[in-house]
Amino acid sequence: MTMNDSEICRDNSFTGRSGINAGLRIVLFFAAVLFLLAISMLLGPSGIGIPDLQSPSGSAILSLRFSRLLMGLMTGAALSASGVVFQALLRNPLAEPYVLGVSGGAGLGATLSILGGSGLFVSFGLPVVAFIAAVLTLMLVYLIASQGSSGHPSVYSLILSGVIVSSICSSVIMFLVSTASVEGMHNVIWWMLGSLQPVSSGQQLLSAALILGALAGIWLLSPRLNALALGREMAHYQGLHADLVLVVGLLFATLLAATAVSLSGMIGFVGLIVPHVMRAFFGPDNRKLVPLAALGGGTFLVVCDALARTLLAPIEIPVGVVTALAGGPFFLIILQRRMKQAWIA
């Protein structure tokens, strides 16, 4: 057997096709996404149905629902794609968008902004403060993790310093909350629970631009993320700037997470579980996984928000509660059946 004749594999039939099954699965997934998004538009405190579009209140309700749908899509997509990247880069199934201290940092920034409420912070607005705090925290974590190693932090030191910085931030938040007025405490806790109340349209536009930009960046990076799954050394041997890919990937993922937090507060669970479930269905190839997980995460959050405002209407349940309470058992069942297709089992 020699490798001189290329006749044998001219049609690329062995590696070129992705299988009918996989194609069908993707089509079904898109159909489900459209269906669920449509249902979510129809769900409201008053039950299922299209509001009377002739009346001003009806059209206002529909446009509010549409804004929340957009908020949900953006936040969910950002969190879920960010989770995919963190899990791929850190090669760790527990990695999630907040693993490098984004939540702690953003939470601290938001708490200061809500409780302090004066001077510098107010002029920027809470989301901007949360975003800046998140990025500053990532830089701090990266700096701490880089100490001792020769310039490039190891995955483990990144995770460890992320967890430590997060804990410190949480403690400071707890301290601030415990000394705050009842009203301040209430506001902070509500912000942390997360909500898809539409933010200003300017901020929505900016966030959408950031998220789309970062998603595109990650998607371009995605074949390299696959190579990094075999570790940094192997990726280097295969001709990648492995450290560069790692740093750029972490930056994009944190940008996504920080934008999501500044939009909607700290919504847990989406960034950890949706990537796992999507991986279980569509495999770990990041070229497919990044867009699919973004769409899946966005849809999941939109559905959760529709449930949050309907289930106990007129009371609205925090959406972060719904993601875990409703999504948890559902995803656990899926993962139990299909974990092998996602992660080593």
Binding site: S6, R224, M234, Q238
Partner: protein, 421 residues
């Protein structure tokens, strides 16, 4: 003319606080099959990492086809040099063909386009390494041998001119090892691929390699043909044990083997040694004496002494005395019996006080009875008796023919010398 594929010019390399490679120079010609050998920790893996530009040399230059490897763009480097690591681990459930496709990662376009040449190379590598049938399986589900073949396929997909393997085949069972070696030999013969194989199987390497590089503690000790490098005296110093090299009368291949039967012979020494120890000073002595094949007895020891514990664990006969009490006549009598049976009596580096001075007197008695007595040097520092009684006694013993010892190695040599007389 054959070109140099890989050249090390006076390369020193290592990590932040530890230099591993020390001034290494060699050259591998294009199309050569070279085995890199040496004991564990001698720097073979570091050498591969340095060659692949994963580590930057502290000094010196590594050249790949005449160009400084650190100045070659990563994508080009990957098309010149492939590395098969000891083991690759994929935490996620990638299929075999997805894993092999990673070999083409550096040529995948900015927009993620995979050319038909990429597909061709991947499929050919999979055919060549016989993993095409596994292409839809999950990499993590495969056996070690299959995983190694997939790893090789992935590296072959890079279409490199040199392949370096870091003990990639050492832990394969014999048929998979043969299979992977066969693939490597074919690549070498048919495609003139240059191969640098880190190996622990010296005999196997000898049968397939053009040349050997022998490393020891970060230095290149010898480079040459298998016959030149597989010199028993040289190997025995580098690997720090007795090795033999024989030529197979039928095939002419060199066979390297450990001198196992000399070990066996040592086990049947039939020599007995009595050790006077205490306070943990005997543990290493017991271990070494047992390994060398001596019968060992020890005592008198306090029942709570750590040496007594060790002796019990090693199944050594111990003469014991109750804790916190002077050594009684029964124990002394039993110890003398042991000494009578022994060929030699060894005094460890045990501190001597009034409580165990009697042990030193036992040694004195042994010398009187014509036994070889070996006393650890430096008694002056360990003498806690009143009026330096121990020091005086030892000095007397030394003049009467006892032998001093400093290190355990020295002790073993003395024992050999005197137990044969």
């Amino acid at each position: 003319m054959e070109q140099a594929a890989l050249t090390f010019r006076e390369v020193s390399a290592g990590y932040k606080h530890r230099k591993v490679l020390d001034n290494v120079s060699f050259s591998v010609r294009e199309g050569e099959f070279v085995s890199l050998i040496g004991p564990n920790g001698c720097g073979k893996s570091t050498l591969l990492k340095t060659a692949a530009a994963l580590l930057k040399p502290l000094s010196g230059v590594v050249e790949l086809f005449g160009r400084d490897v650190h100045r070659i763009k990563p994508a080009l480097r990957a098309s010149l040099l492939g590395v098969v690591p000891q083991k690759i681990e994929s935490p996620m459930a990638f299929t075999v063909s997805q894993i092999v496709m990673n070999g083409r990662i550096s040529s995948i376009g900015r927009w993620g386009t995979i050319s038909s040449r990429d597909h061709d190379l991947v499929e050919r590598s999979m055919i060549y390494t016989d993993v095409l049938g596994l292409r839809e399986r999950y990499f993590t589900e495969l056996s070690g041998g299959e995983q190694q073949r997939v790893a090789l396929a992935m590296v072959l997909a890079q279409d490199p001119k040199i392949i370096m393997l870091d003990e990639s085949i050492s832990h394969l069972d014999i048929n998979h090892r043969q299979e992977v070696l066969q693939i490597l030999m074919n690549l070498n013969r048919e495609k003139q691929m240059t191969i640098l194989l880190v190996s622990h199987d010296l005999s196997l390497s000898a049968s397939i390699s053009d040349r050997f590089l022998l490393m020891d503690t970060g230095r290149l000790v010898k480079a040459g043909t298998p016959v030149e490098v597989l010199d028993p005296a040289l190997l025995s110093t580098v690997y720090n044990c007795d090795l033999r090299v024989q030529q197979d009368p039928y095939t002419g291949y060199l066979q390297v083997s450990g001198a196992i039967d000399s070990l066996n012979r040592r086990k049947k020494l039939n020599r007995s040694v009595h050790v006077i120890a205490g306070g943990g000073s005997g543990i290493e002595l017991y271990r070494r004496l047992l390994i060398e094949g001596y019968e060992v007895t020890t005592g008198v020891l306090n029942r709570l002494d750590s040496d007594a514990e060790a002796a019990r664990a090693l199944n050594i006969h111990v003469v014991l005395e109750q804790p916190f009490s002077p050594v009684g006549n029964d124990a002394i009598a039993e110890a003398l019996q042991m000494i009578d049976k022994a060929d030699a009596v060894i005094l460890s580096q045990v501190p001597i006080g009034s409580g165990n001075l009697v042990n030193l007197e036992l040694a004195s008695e042994a010398l009187k009875r014509g036994k070889t007595v070996l006393l650890a040097n430096g008694i002056a520092d360990r003498d806690y008796t009143e009026g330096k009684a121990a020091l005086h006694l030892v000095t007397r013993l030394m003049t009467a023919g006892a032998i001093g010892w400093q290190s355990i190695q020295e002790l073993m040599l003395q024992l050999q010398k005197h137990s044969h007389s």
